[in-house]
């Protein structure tokens, strides 16, 4: 049977597979058909997770503990496999380590056929005859009931068993809906969340022609419960996954809300649990932080309804509905010897041993599959797992899983939907650096690409450390510093060129820059040049002194000097915010220097060009080392560059260098707020007492969108606090990202996704209540300007002395 299609009719796209046009059409189709349902559900889970995380006092300690247990367990994996084998065998069960999908499927089919034959000798014969049948409700075929398991999706277990003449019924309601619809999961935790209640109702009516009306979720649930209840009663074997496996006691932990996994595990006399080898942890005591975290991160519940910890085969009586008058129950002291239960633990390798030995992919194995990275991802909220996902897994962590279990090509298909916004970093209960895994896989994909015909177009613009041949657009955006510098040097010619339709058409075809986007307008005079022409550091020192700080009782905390980092946008495109930052610092008595510094590496990083970024990190540190040694503070306007200094540089620089730069670099508003907190006089700044709408306390209303990476650094609050201190009443956005994410929104294949994400932000601010909208990131500002059709400056432009904003 063909799978339900998630792709539009592709007859109009004659280009090669995975062309930009084809990707754009696929994503557009998902935006239209599944986006709304996905957004509704993921944004609720995302909101609830944030709420319950906030309410959990020891959250960070729990995450750290969980992470440490996983690191240790993966480190000791071979030993834990032997431990669990001994424990399960001592309990009376069997452990099978399967190399790959085919191995696992064959083992499971053997067990099912064997047990069905034991139950009813005629059934085995029936199954052979049934192979050619239609597979619908043939009572003679061996039957299996399953609870939800992504690992069995990974190995396509259902298809394999059906091919062997075994009936399989999914009992998790979402999975069962997908089974009926012949559809695939769109989310690790909520597999059918792309379907609305009405779509499910229509599906059931079409499939089952029932007597009842499906006008409520309750009616649908009751129908499913009754239908599945019968299958569970009749099944020969119950198959579950395992959220965790405690090695020393052979204990399987199942975390569920519906109760179907409990029924599948204990009702039939045979239970098969299938788990990736990475699910092993040393002991039941190690379960605690995971049990405490997993519901919080997955759905925002404090705890899941059912956390089943069973060390099968258990003493629980089997329930034989074919002998309805046989009493259950027995004696625990004799149960172990009398029982007719059988238990098989299938531990799946399928690439995991290789992942364990891969320094970059190993972290993926710590994943507990809670889906928090999907819920916190703005792009995922728009397109769901059928867009942002591979053969089995979806969301940010899927890149690691797909690359590990299905191969790099499976990950390459969707990996670019990760913009590196880092919102998943705070969401992940085991602190996996998911954006980094995406960057690494992108880098590996780049290196595998074949040279293309148009390399000459970007060769002159790309002084990178990357091999020739990968996606031209990526190479262009990765070298954006050179492009921007050239654009500035040739302005206004470069700006005029950008307005010419023929040029835009060429840019779209060769580099994939969507012609619907406005291109940046380059400034002829860079910020660095402006600062030098103004008299440089000496002039800044004079102005800072003239601001009159010696009249006040300045603390030593205010005796500081600042190196303002001229990121490429501030330096060549949006020089106004740089000038505003310089003037603000000087007005607070702080002398500034604006040296010509190298690009941070953020741009190449976002395109997966790791060696180029690594080189840039060294250059930046070398250029700043003397200032750092002299005790100067590095102040950064563009949050993504600060995030490079404070996050990614840890991977590029020696520990001491990294810590030195991290500890002495600041976001501009964070720095200004720190000055005010230490006694600097805010009178020098522009305050909210002017024109414009005010709240009841007389504070001027302002809409403020922080930057995704800035939020992950916990640096939204200082800007909000600074605005409040200066007489503003900021309204902050709740969306995770603006959708622009540097180059993402410029790319032809992602333009519509970017606008869909951006629309949600624009709608939050589009109330007409405020005439002021500010954003910290360049691309956030560009996106908001495009959507709201108005100027969106940086907050420092509003706060600068004598601000005209």
């Amino acid at each position: 049977m063909a799978e339900r299609s998630h792709a539009p009719d592709q007859s109009d796209t004659s280009a090669a597979p995975n062309s930009r046009a084809e990707t754009a059409a696929h994503l557009r189709h998902l935006l239209e058909t599944e986006g709304e349902a996905i957004h509704t559900q993921t944004s609720v889970s995302n909101y609830r997770r944030a709420q319950v995380y906030d309410e959990t006092d020891n959250l960070d300690a729990l995450r750290t503990e969980a992470r440490a247990i996983k690191e240790d367990a993966i480190d000791r994996l071979p030993e834990l496999i032997e431990t669990v084998r001994e424990a399960v065998e001592a309990n009376g069960g069997t452990v099978y380590v399967a190399d790959d999908a085919a191995d696992a499927n064959a083992y499971v089919a053997d067990v099912v056929e064997d047990r069905a034959g034991v139950d009813d000798p005629e059934a085995a014969t029936g199954s052979k005859e049934g192979e050619a049948g239609d597979g619908d409700g043939n009572g003679n075929r061996p039957s299996v009931v399953k609870s939800k398991s992504m690992t069995t999706e990974e190995i396509d277990l259902n298809d394999a068993l059906e091919a062997d003449g075994i009936d399989v019924t999914e009992t998790d309601l979402g999975e069962w809906v997908l089974q009926v619809a012949d559809d695939t999961p769109s989310h690790i935790v909520g597999p059918a969340m792309h379907l609305t209640r009405k779509e499910i109702a229509d599906l059931f009516v079409e499939h089952f022609d029932p007597d009842v009306e499906f006008d409520t979720p309750e009616a649908l649930t009751k129908f499913a419960r009754d239908h599945l209840g019968e299958h569970i009663q009749d099944a020969d074997v119950g198959i579950t996954g395992a959220n965790f496996v405690a090695a020393d006691s052979g204990t399987i932990a199942l975390v569920t809300n519906e109760g179907n996994a409990r029924k599948c595990a204990v009702t039939p006399d045979t239970h098969i649990a299938i788990a990736g080898v990475e699910k092993l942890i040393p002991s039941v005591r190690d379960l605690e932080p995971f049990v405490d975290l997993i519901a919080k991160s997955a759905t925002g519940q404090p705890l899941s309804q059912y956390v089943t910890m069973l060390s099968p085969p258990t003493n629980s009586p089997t329930i034989d509905f074919e002998s309805p008058d046989k009493p259950l129950g027995g004696d625990d002291s004799t149960a172990a010897t009398n029982r007719d239960r059988e238990f098989h633990l299938v531990l799946l390798d399928n690439g995991r041993t290789d992942m364990r030995q891969d320094d970059q992919l190993r972290e993926t194995l710590y994943c507990i599959r809670c889906g928090a990275c999907s819920n916190s991802c703005a792009n995922f909220q728009s397109v769901g797992g059928h867009g942002f996902g591979g053969e089995t897994y979806s969301g940010g962590i899927a890149t690691g899983w797909e690359a590990g279990v299905h191969g790099q090509d499976a990950a390459a298909e969707f990996n670019d939907l990760c913009t590196g916004c880092t919102r998943c970093v705070d969401a992940c209960p085991v602190k996996i650096d998911i954006p980094w895994i995406n960057t690494v896989v992108r880098d590996r994909v780049n290196r595998d690409d074949d040279p293309e015909a148009y390399d000459f177009l970007v060769d002159g613009l790309t002084p990178d450390d990357e091999p020739d041949g990968f996606d031209l657009g990526k190479r262009f955006f990765g070298n954006i510093a050179t492009v921007t510098k050239l654009g500035s040097a040739t302005a206004p010619l470069s700006n005029w060129l950008g307005d010419i339709e023929l040029v835009r058409s060429l840019l779209e075809r060769t580099l994939g820059i969507d012609r619907r986007r406005d291109l940046p307008t380059f400034e002829r005079q860079s910020l660095v040049d402006w600062f030098a022409a103004r008299g440089g550091e000496r002039e800044s020192r004079r102005r800072a002194a003239a601001a009159g700080p010696e009249d006040r009782n300045r603390t030593s905390e205010l005796d500081r000097e600042v190196v303002l980092y001229p990121d490429i946008y501030t330096n060549y495109v949006d020089t106004d915010r740089g000038k505003a930052a310089v003037r603000t610092l000087e007005a607070l008595g702080i002398p500034v220097s604006v040296p010509d510094l190298p690009e941070s590496g953020r741009a190449p990083l976002s395109q997966g060009m790791i060696s180029t970024a690594d080189r840039q990190a060294s250059r930046v540190y070398a250029a700043l080392a003397e200032d750092l040694d002299a005790g100067r503070d590095v102040v950064v306007i563009e949050p993504s560059d600060l995030a490079a200094f404070q996050r990614e540089y840890e991977r590029f620089l020696p520990e001491r260098s990294f810590e030195r730069l991290r500890d002495n670099s600041y976001e501009i508003c964070e720095f200004i707020f720190g000055l005010l907190e230490n006694g600097a006089d805010s009178d020098a700044l522009s305050t909210g007492d002017g024109d414009g709408a005010e709240d009841e306390d007389g504070n001027r209303s302002i809409a403020y969108h922080s930057h995704c990476q800035q939020r992950t650094l916990d640096l939204e609050a200082p800007t909000t606090a600074l605005l409040e201190r200066c007489g503003y009443a900021p309204q902050t956005s709740s969306v995770e990202c603006c959708g622009m994410a540097g180059s993402f929104g410029y790319k032809r294949e992602y333009y519509e996704v970017s606008m869909d994400v951006g629309d949600r932000l624009a709608r939050e601010f589009d109330h007409g209540e405020t005439d002021l909208v500010v954003a910290s990131g360049t691309s956030c500002g560009d996106q908001l300007e495009a959507l709201l059709e108005r100027d969106v400056p940086h907050p420092v432009e509003v706060l600068a002395p004598n601000s005209a904003v």
């Binding site: 109760g259 329930i319 009493p327």
Partner: protein, 168 residues
């Protein structure tokens, strides 16, 4: 156990929309009889002086289990922080009896209510060390959001009552 822990347990159950009843061991059987809806199934209760009401079928057949409206089981312990009851899988059938009927009634001794999940895992580890092999942490009613809205009572009970034995 402290009064504070019991109060915390009560508040957690309240948030989960789980009914809670406090009773002495002497009155427990009558109280259970008043709570349950027949047909009811159950397992023998391990608390001194407490037995399941006569209307409750112990060692039920599969047919009786499937038809039962109420299932009564003991909880080995409870976790105040989350309103969780720990149901042990035993040969008497605690697991299916707590799972199949629409209404699960869990009976727990007040002294077995522990404050938080850390203390709960201490108890679980003790039980496993003493030969127990399977425990379910059950928190609230069976639920799903897969059908376009939150629905209680999917494969497991849609109604849960916890009976606390104040003097046990």
């Amino acid at each position: 156990m402290t009064t504070d822990t019991v109060g915390r347990f009560e508040r957690s159950l309240d948030e989960l929309a789980v009914s809670v009843e406090f009773t002495s061991a002497t009155d427990a059987t009558d109280r259970l009889d008043a709570i349950l809806e027949t047909p009811a199934v159950g397992v023998p209760l391990p608390f001194d002086g407490v037995s399941v009401p006569e209307s409750v079928t112990t060692s039920p057949t599969a047919a009786e289990l499937a038809d039962a409206r109420t299932g009564i089981t003991p909880a080995t312990f409870a976790i105040a922080e989350y309103g969780t009851v720990a149901i042990e899988s035993r040969a008497a059938g605690d697991e299916p009896i707590s799972l199949y009927p629409e209404h699960h009634v869990a009976v727990v001794a007040a002294t077995d209510i522990v404050p938080d999940i850390g203390a709960g895992f201490d108890r679980l580890a003790d039980r496993f060390a003493a030969g127990g092999d399977s425990i379910v942490f059950a928190t609230g009613q069976s639920a799903t959001a897969d059908m376009g809205g939150l629905v209680h009572g999917v494969h497991g009970p849609g109604e849960v009552t916890v009976v606390v034995l104040e003097d046990r």
